[in-house]
Amino acid sequence: GAGVSQSPSNKVTEKGKDVELRCDPISGHTALYWYRQSLGQGLEFLIYFQGNSAPDKSGLPSDRFSAERTGGSVSTLTIQRTQQEDSAVYLCASSSGWGGKETQYFGPGTRLLVL
């Protein structure tokens, strides 16, 4: 089957605009994770979902960031009023469970550039 897909692959936006990033996990995977990869901060955890619930949002950098997951499948990460420091690659991963031992399968990422 298909792997994790993300869209768009690239996004250029102006400072202050809102953006939505989409993640389609592997079919049947109940856990979904968002990470951010930037030059200064490396790979950082943002949020994860068990089904449609988000038990851990501790990595979201500010209240401008939010995420939701519907139908236990697709997830959207929304960044409001984007800032230049939001420029990064946003990675999504999914796994068959959330116990810590399951392999996370990563998508190719969305490269966000805020001008």
């Binding site: 994790v4 856990a31 994770y33 990470y35 490396g42 790979l43 950082e44 955890f45 994860y48 068990q50 038990p55 851990d56 990595g59 990675l91 991963a93 796994s95 469970g97 959330w98 116990g99 810590g100 031992k101 399951e102 392999t103 996370q104 399968y105 990563f106 998508g107 190719p108 990422g109």
Partner: protein, 113 residues
């Protein structure tokens, strides 16, 4: 606090030479440890993982890693490097609850012909 340290930002090895990438972790319980590889323009791919048992684990592409609790280390090794191994390598520790991964800063591997 949980953390992962990869002391080497960039390593260059000759093709055919052996490789060891270092990883040190800080975690309160028995860690779940992972090595991922990221090739240019591609997503992260799991090389291997360790949860318990035999401290030497085998992975894909001829890689192996050894867990040493006394040294809080999980170093990645390969006996003979191929040019296609040039990539960035990330060590990570996984949370027992929820499974979020905490990554090291990564080690970029260059391979000389």
């Amino acid at each position: 606090a949980q953390s992962v340290t990869q002391p080497d930002i960039h390593i260059t090895v000759s093709e055919g030479a052996s490789l060891e990438l270092r990883c040190n972790y800080s975690y309160g319980a028995t860690p779940y440890l992972f090595w991922y590889v990221q090739s240019p323009g591609q997503g992260l791919q799991l090389l291997l993982k360790y949860f318990s048992g035999d401290t030497l684990v085998q992975g894909i592409k001829g890689f192996e890693a050894e867990f040493k609790r006394s040294q809080s280390s999980f170093n990645l090794r390969k006996p003979s490097v191929h040019w296609s191994d040039a990539a960035e390598y990330f060590c990570a520790v996984g949370a027992h609850q929820g499974g979020k991964l905490i990554f090291g800063q990564g080690t970029e591997l260059s391979v000389k012909p």
